[in-house]
Symmetry: C2
Subunit: 202 residues, 2 copies
């Protein structure tokens, strides 16, 4: 159903051009934010640099924030699918650690885009509200996936939502720690955080 992330060539010219435009807008937004800071960038500029009209910008992204943070529906689906499938000897929390860490690591094809997204994310605290807003979508998708994985027993709904919410919050806490000049490398801190969650907090 969903085109997997590696096949760029989903048939028609139409589809390809749409992806190119989306990507161009995405890159333009990241460029400009790096140059001038998020607040000083206008949607008009982003559209201009990507070579489309301002109106078209809003055909691709519902907001200025989305063009910078932009988790695509495809990405979302792929993360959800990864969580739904139970890997042997892996608890839900361990799956989440792996998947969420993967979202930050410039691993798959679009490593350029992801690396820059990450840099901006760590550097621009003013994006934090938009970031957490975006997380809601991720949280809902992952919660649904985990519910399916755990089956429909009573109490599972809350359990699933709680697990996902805490995992995302842990990653976000590490990012904010980083932004506030905290010590330690991001990945290392994330590992520490998940270990804490597994062991129980006081």
């Amino acid at each position: 159903m969903s085109t997997d992330l590696l096949t760029d060539d989903a048939c028609g010219l139409r589809e390809r051009k749409k992806r190119e435009t989306r990507r161009a807008l995405n890159l333009a937004a990241l460029d400009l934010v790096e140059e001038k800071g998020f607040a000083a960038v206008t949607t008009e500029e982003i559209a201009a640099r990507a070579g489309v009209s301002t109106r078209t910008f809003f055909n691709y992204f519902p907001s200025k924030e989305a063009a910078v943070i932009g988790t695509t529906p495809e990405e979302l689906e792929s993360y959800a699918a990864a969580l739904e499938e139970a890997v042997p000897h892996e608890t839900p929390l361990q799956s989440l650690r792996r998947i969420l860490a993967g979202m930050l690591a410039p691993a798959s094809i679009d490593r350029e885009l992801r690396a820059r997204r990450r840099r901006i994310l760590l550097g621009e605290p003013s994006l934090a509200p938009a970031l957490v807003g975006n997380n809601i979508r991720i949280e809902n998708a992952l919660t649904a996936a985990l519910e399916r994985r755990l089956g429909a027993e009573p109490g599972v709904a809350l359990e699933a939502r709680l697990t996902v919410a805490l995992a995302i919050a842990a990653v976000r806490a590490c990012i904010e720690h980083q932004q506030n000049g905290g010590s330690g490398r991001l990945e290392r801190n994330i590992d520490l955080a998940f270990d804490r969650i597994a062991a129980g907090l006081r």
Copy 2:
């Protein structure tokens, strides 16, 4: 330093009028949101119902969302102070459970305002992004307070931020569970959630 929440009479006419205006705007916003839904309410309407100009609205609140969700700096300070002071036999997590539950419970003076805030909060999912945005402020204030309580040992910064972030995320998860028609009473679920966190997740 900070006027505590019970003394309404902090001297002058000026101060009193400011509080009244703030409260009038707050109530007007809640009224209108209950009537028409958040998206359909304009700042102009809110100001009009409160009997002030649109421009004045923005002297009191930085955004439309803030008038609805509106955690005042005083509230923030009072929560932070409550967390900083260590109660005997209470772990940080237990303190957070008590304090965050108190934010939802219509306990102190302004029970009317708080009860309506809570009802709207549970009923209007479109406010979720604004809600989590607001949580950032709360999180930062509580993190700083917990850091002070725990002292300046290495690793405390991350530990404090993580604990606060997880506690807030737990409450939020329970709220969203409620919004999505999940089972159980809110307070009961929050208790369950905190017990889980203390015991460790899988």
